[in-house]
Symmetry: C2
Subunit: 165 residues, 2 copies
């Protein structure tokens, strides 16, 4: 059982990500392999401060143990999207289900589909979300330049912007 000390034995470390309030990762600082079982890390609803519509976020792994990336899975209900935002280091999105949309500032709205990978360098203002009629799930991997800082949030995406008008 020594490899199962991650959760349930009082040694869990909850890392709060200040950029995404309400998201907590379980993590361990030891030097052995940790298996986080499916279902052990609760999902949370994305805050209306940062999302339009319903977005459900499931933590996957924290920036810990010497790694500066962290990961989570986000499911956007139809029509839902993130606010505009930038990442201080960068972000990669791996679309795992459905059809969605993304846009960088000044560019067109673009469709993204399961299996697509979106690479967004540092400082590029963008948003991502579902398509109007179909949900979209992506894994998000972000890297931080200081503890807990992986995203700088901006204004909401208007209905006109979302529609590509």
């Amino acid at each position: 059982m020594k490899y199962d000390k991650f959760l349930g034995f009082g040694l869990a470390l909850a890392l709060m990500c200040p950029s995404l309030p309400g998201i907590s990762f379980a993590a361990e600082t030891g030097k052995s392999q940790t298996i986080v079982r499916c279902g052990e890390q609760p999902s949370v609803q994305g805050s209306e401060k940062f999302f339009t519509g319903r977005a459900r976020i499931t933590p996957l792994y924290p920036a810990a143990n010497g790694m500066r990336s962290s990961g989570g899975s986000v499911t956007f209900e139809p029509g839902a999207r993130s606010n505009w935002h930038v990442h201080p280091v960068g972000q990669v999105l791996i679309v795992t289900d459905g059809v969605g949309r993304t846009q960088e500032w000044g560019g067109p709205v673009r469709e993204i589909r399961a299996g697509d990978v979106i690479i967004c360098p540092a400082g590029v203002k963008h948003w991502h979300g579902a398509s109007p009629a179909t949900a979209m799930t992506h894994i998000s991997v972000c890297e931080e330049n200081e503890p807990g800082r992986v995203v700088d949030w901006m204004e909401a995406v208007t209905d006109e912007q979302y529609a590509g008008k």
Copy 2:
């Protein structure tokens, strides 16, 4: 079309990962968002120098644009597994399909299932693969401490080790 310069316009940069010969990522160095469409990055078979049995690797994203993590998806056919290896910074595995096995040196063989997340800190000798009768697919995210170095490969996992004997 300016956002599609990633592939097909002569500006693609193929990053070879010396730790996984034969794996190439397409990448761009510009400061705009890149969408890599499903199917644009060919899968390769894992080398028999590093894998026992058949493992198919699909690149997802390179360590580029200021990010030091890279990602790929690996599907292990039943009975297939990686060699023993360590990561200089660390690795996270997100099991996306099937049932597999993993083990760290000195520990028991442990089952891993779709939805599980495995966190392996730097320097922990381990292996991962399918279960004997069922395939397993995971996304692997590694970080590098020098360009292209994300894994140090070691000896094959014997049939006895794989069986947990």
